[in-house]
Symmetry: C2
Subunit: 345 residues, 2 copies
DNA sequence: CGCAGTCATGACAGCGCAGTCATACACCGG
DNA sequence: CCGGTGTATGACTGCGCTGTCATGACTGCG
């Protein structure tokens, strides 16, 4: 009935089973599976054939227990489907997979009790070799990570080294991109540029605000009051209602495309034309940005490249403990100019 | 210097260390950590205190090895930041976390060699107790899953039971939602409704097409030729260019909001007004749908509820092997009517 | 008072791998 | 022909936990 002897037929084959079939020791099977040196071609082939025949799959838990490494990386994300964070997460997944690690994901909702520290803790409980914190925000009480953090951490999106005890690698900044967007408007001839900002608890929102501010300062322009949004189109619309009250406003840099779209709706309802009366720049180059009315000038972030670069650092830190962190190149800025920006009239 | 004796001070504490400190056996520590019965309150407190003091974290690999269960669930997603799939993924993460499992994620890019089967395989390699396939698409060669599949699988978005050997639970359908969207247009008085479809390799795209078709059939209307898109606003725009050529078109149901936005842009460029000349309905209720011009009538999917319901089934299948699959209620349809739809003139 | 039944705990084995060390053989140069 | 060096393999052990079974202590009841 059952071809397998001993332990129930349904039981998954182990390396000893493969070893028996191939006529070698269990250790040799382990060698073959891990591509270790000092295995003859003949034996390697026999082992692989035996493994194939039995449908052998090495047991990860056992490997992790014996080797002390889980070969997995955990990522902490803000549980939102916003285009930026979602794109970055996809990029991280790809990058993690490329490095041969597995990916574990934990979200942290804004307002959730445990916050980022709780999410990190849960990853540590699960056992990961490294952690990525994507799009961090300020938590109540500051960015205090777990005190028992004993794996490298990569923070994507935090400008200065994130406050953390163990190994920490800082990530990308959208500062320059925001600056480029603002300068585009200034160069078109606008006297100044207003800013529709993201929630300031987000590092990326602060980054963009600083980039905007730096551009104005570099050109010696006055810095108008910032209008606060929360990334949503709804908040962009609300911010837009404020801005339309001021006839001096001729150019607005929104911290993301969704808010820019809400803003443009508020402008349209107020009878202000884009770009004739007001120029608008967004951020992210969401898939719809090119197709709204008018098509939106925006900034594209190289999510995949950022994730790949960051992961390279993280994996380096994992596999070469106490070595110098690698330097990280700044990603390229890409400003996409469309019809929503023009010279002031 | 180092408070910890024996093994290097940096080594993570094990349950025996906790046991020693609490003056109990290692097994009792295990009992406390797993909330097993037959532990006195006094001992429980002492163990917890000792664990706290040492910063004890139970080793997952060892637990998985000893118990044969990993307490983790894997999810296969299409690596896209599209609003629907991304929202569903976030919902899945929340739902998985609520059940006490950990989440492992593998993407499968369209056109990637291994495809869904490869992703499932890699999850099985990692060791998961259950698998969620989110937003499945047809692969070359059909939906053939791994032959060595030995854990329950939940397929979110496949109408009929997905072709799989082991335990399989079918998920949600957007059929009725598509039908509701189409009927909304018919009830406004449109003679017929055109459809801007998603890529037909996606089950959800086929579902929506079928819902549209069913609505037309139920009202005895002719079924116009379907225009094919790929979910992107760009493809919606391209499809729109086709549709504007036909003056008979007065109502279009797009399979997602992005395509609807592209379509509206094409209509605008052709001088066709929305909704006066053409009514448009989207699908998803993306965050910007309410703020484009005109605000888009659309259908909202209860991603969180779908993920939660589905996970309930999956966890049930994991924890009660060979029991009947639980029945699954259909999620509520929510049609959001905005300014992009009106009666024909 | 004695025995069965509960409750609380510990001893011990073993999950399936990878690390360490020992061993066996082949080959090299002096 | 012998010791040294490199290659190929296996025996054995242990990673840190859970499962099983044994053992005591403490009930309750006839």
């Amino acid at each position: 009935m059952t071809p397998v002897a001993g332990r129930g037929a349904g039981a998954a084959p182990r390396s000893v089973d493969v070893a028996r079939l191939a006529g070698v020791s269990q250790k040799t099977v382990s060698r073959v599976m891990n591509d270790e040196p000092y295995v003859s071609e003949d034996v390697r082939r026999r082992v692989l054939a035996a493994a194939e025949e039995l449908g052998y799959r090495s047991n990860n838990a056992a490997r992790a227990l014996a080797s002390g490494r889980t070969r997995s990386i955990g990522v902490v994300t803000l549980g939102t489907a916003l285009y930026g964070p979602a794109s970055l997460l996809m990029g991280i997944e790809r990058a993690v997979r490329d490095t041969g690690y597995a990916l574990r994901v934990v979200n942290t909702m804004e307002g959730e009790s445990a916050g980022i520290a709780g999410a990190v803790d849960s990853l540590l409980d699960q056992g990961v070799d490294g952690i990525v914190i994507s799009e961090p925000i300020d938590e109540a009480g500051g960015a205090v990570l777990s005190a028992r953090l004993d794996v490298p951490v990569l923070v994507l999106g935090a400008p200065p080294p994130f406050a953390a005890p163990h190994v920490v690698t800082a990530g990308i900044v959208s500062h320059q991109m925001a600056r480029a967007a603002t300068e585009h408007l200034l160069e078109l001839g606008h006297t100044t540029v207003h800013h529709l900002a993201g929630p300031q608890r987000w590092y990326s929102a602060r980054d963009r605000l600083e980039g905007w501010s730096a551009a104005l300062a570099a050109h010696g322009r006055a810095e108008p009051a910032v209008v606060q949004g929360d990334w949503s189109a709804a908040s962009g619309y609300a911010g837009g209602r404020e801005l339309v009250a001021d006839p001096e406003v001729t150019a607005v840099f929104a911290a993301n495309d969704d808010m820019a779209i809400g803003l443009m709706r508020a402008l349209a309802e107020a009878g202000r034309r884009v770009p004739e009366d007001v120029s608008v720049v967004g951020f992210d180059d969401t898939p719809v940005a090119a197709y709204v009315t008018p098509p939106l000038t925006t900034v594209r972030q190289p999510f995949d490249a950022m994730a790949q670069d960051g992961l390279k650092l993280l994996v380096h830190a994992i596999e070469n403990p106490q070595s110098e962190p690698l330097p990280m190149a700044d990603p390229p800025v890409e400003l996409i100019v469309r019809a929503s920006t023009a010279a002031p009239r």
